[in-house]
């Protein structure tokens, strides 16, 4: 008799989703789906709005990564204005994006995933949260809080507020960094670097503690996609797209993000509001690819900052070249925080961040524009078509979490097949299935919002939909 297991909602992720696991007649996992269950419709209701409003509107897609949407949006608008923005504006935007990567990665690692990693996947669920972490390792918990705070302080110093700063604009930014704020941020940088270096030390110990999870959490070959700069250096704001395979070979390089529709397709499944992008030359679903920290470290030649490059070298030795296990997202995320902090230090030392030449102004000069940047979770595309008056005619948002959709589904299936044995499913196994999703740090706020006090419910049903059993736990983790 076939059965279906539902995990609804998935906890400690940004947004709302559920997981369905289908068992065959023998009780083995036949398939698994990761559903994004809510619809928001930004692409539709933006139609008719003025181009100048798009950054402000699309930033509201999310409260965690509004900066990413701001940057992709204004880059699309730059194209439509056909402007080359001032060098100071590029540096200030880069500083903003690096701060966003720091604060978002810190949230993912220290607040959402560290409870699993440091307390154990089978630890008491009521303690498997930031309070449990603070109780067992207050230094790590507080370090994570302060690290995220540092990223947010940079965003606030530039944009006036931590969330939804209306500071990035088509053609540049709305103001420079103040000298006073720069001095303050420079003073906080050493502590932030020390925090992430300590976390990296912990992470390396954890790899030895979780060999089975490393092997079963989304460990399969896919393509990897992201931006790279000159000589293939790690990039987060500009550059060209590179695609590599799971052995590290470059499949495609120097791809213009503005032509993404030539090589990326967007499939739609009936059971999720999240799109399923794929690499067109390999078709659907064989064109599965991953984006985000894991992909960015796989595709780049180097990070181009000394401390992080040393970590990258060790990382590649540990993972054996190109990382194929999604468990390594956590490790990659910490290395990205480190290189981001080093780059922040460079930018803070650059006099251009105080420059008063920070914005180019122009009217509508083209009717189409694509903006692309690296959000913390992966490559983000904003694609706008406007009319002669600058009113939006069409919008397409290709979001990082969507590009990981196929891989997240396969990860859920792999973990379920590895860990589920028989009808009794321990809580720790359910947590591993959720943790497999958390490794990607999905931001489902891009299609929904609000993470509240939600229960975890598993229903076991036979093939006719008859409820065979229910397991519930309160969302205390």
């Amino acid at each position: 008799m076939s059965r279906r297991i539902i995990i609804d909602p998935v906890t400690r992720i940004e947004g709302h989703a559920k997981i369905s696991i289908f068992l065959d007649d023998s009780g083995s996992v036949a398939d698994a789906w990761f559903h994004v269950a809510e619809y928001r419709g930004f692409e539709k209701f933006c139609e008719g709005r003025p181009l100048a409003e798009m950054a402000g509107i699309t930033a509201r897609v999310c409260g965690i990564c509004p900066v990413s949407h701001l940057l992709a949006s204004v880059k699309a608008a730059d194209r439509i204005l056909a402007v080359s923005i001032p060098p100071a504006a590029v540096k200030l935007r880069r500083l903003l994006n690096l701060a966003q990567i720091v604060q978002s990665h810190a949230l993912s690692f220290f607040h959402l995933s560290a409870p699993d990693l440091l307390l154990g996947f089978d630890s008491e669920p009521t303690k498997r949260n930031i309070f449990g972490l603070a109780s067992s390792d207050p230094e790590t918990a507080r370090g994570g809080i302060r690290l995220r705070q540092f990223g947010q302080e940079i965003i606030e110093a530039l944009g006036g507020q931590k969330i939804h700063p209306a500071w990035v604009a088509p053609g540049g930014v709305r103001g420079p960094l103040s000298a006073e704020r720069r001095t303050y941020l420079q003073g906080r940088l050493p502590e932030a670097i020390s925090t992430v270096q300590r976390a990296l030390g912990l992470m390396k110990q954890l790899l030895d503690r979780y060999p089975e999870e490393t092997q079963s959490f989304g460990n399969f070959p896919t393509l990897f996609l992201g931006l790279v700069g000159p000589e293939g250096v790690w990039e987060h704001y500009d550059g060209f797209l590179r695609i590599t395979d799971s052995t590290g070979n470059i499949v495609a390089d120097g791809l213009d993000p503005a032509r993404y529709q030539d090589f990326l397709g967007e499939a739609v499944e009936t059971w999720s509001y999240l799109k399923s992008p794929y690499y067109k030359p390999l078709g659907y679903p064989d064109g599965i690819y991953r984006v985000g920290p894991l992909a960015r470290l796989n595709i780049c030649s180097r990070l181009d900052t000394p401390l992080a490059d040393r970590e990258l070298s060790e990382y590649r030795q540990r993972v054996g070249g190109a990382a194929t296990s999604s468990f390594y997202y956590h490790y990659a995320r910490l290395i990205e925080i480190l290189t981001s902090l080093e780059r922040i230090g460079r930018l803070l030392d650059d006099p251009d961040v105080l420059s008063l030449r920070y914005r180019a102004r122009a009217g509508i000069n083209q009717l189409e524009g694509v903006g692309c940047s690296e959000a913390p979770r992966g490559t983000l595309f904003h694609h706008y078509l406007v009319n002669e008056d600058g009113l939006i005619q069409k919008v397409n948002l290709l979001i990082a979490t969507g590009q990981n959709n196929l891989a997240m589904n396969r990860t859920v299936a792999q973990i379920a097949k590895h860990w589920i044995r028989g009808p009794d499913i321990p809580e720790g196994v359910l947590n591993r299935i959720e943790a497999g999703i958390r490794a990607f740090d999905p931001c489902l706020s891009c299609s929904t919002h609000a993470l509240g006090r939600m229960p975890l419910v598993i229903e076991v049903r036979d093939s006719r939909g008859t409820l065979l059993g229910t397991r519930r736990r309160d969302a205390t983790s």
Partner: protein, 166 residues
Amino acid sequence: MEKKTWLIIGIGNELAGDDALGRQVVESLAKKALPGVQILSLPQLTPEMTEHLRCYEQVIFVDADVSGQEVALRPLASEGIRQPFSHLWSPQAILALLEMTTGSVPQAWLATLPARDLGFGKSRNEFGAELVAEAVRLIEVLIESQTATPRHLDEATRTVGSGTSK
């Protein structure tokens, strides 16, 4: 670290009707420029707030309360809070997290104002100004009492009727 004296945090969404009452209170207090008092006006509390709180000796949270019937001001403790990560951090949870990560917490109070309508838009509460004024008065009495005699503290932390019933 030399600690500052008072931090008053107004919490609420300015586009969710009465939810903004707490922020209106701290905006009124900001205009008074009380000596030794720092004001923060926030849409919500986040874990990073612990790093602000540890710099102060006393903190007052000001928030709207849908279950409240009157303006109230009461001492706040951190005990027994084990809230999972979410977008909804209570003042007690923030204090608990601060205590666990630093080993100490400031003396804390919670001022609440009764909320009726949390619908989209500005607050249309006809008693809003009265509620805000009452909360401001209670907070001023509390601050004054902390630098005066214990008797004033009792007065400051009592619950005060607001006359908001229709």
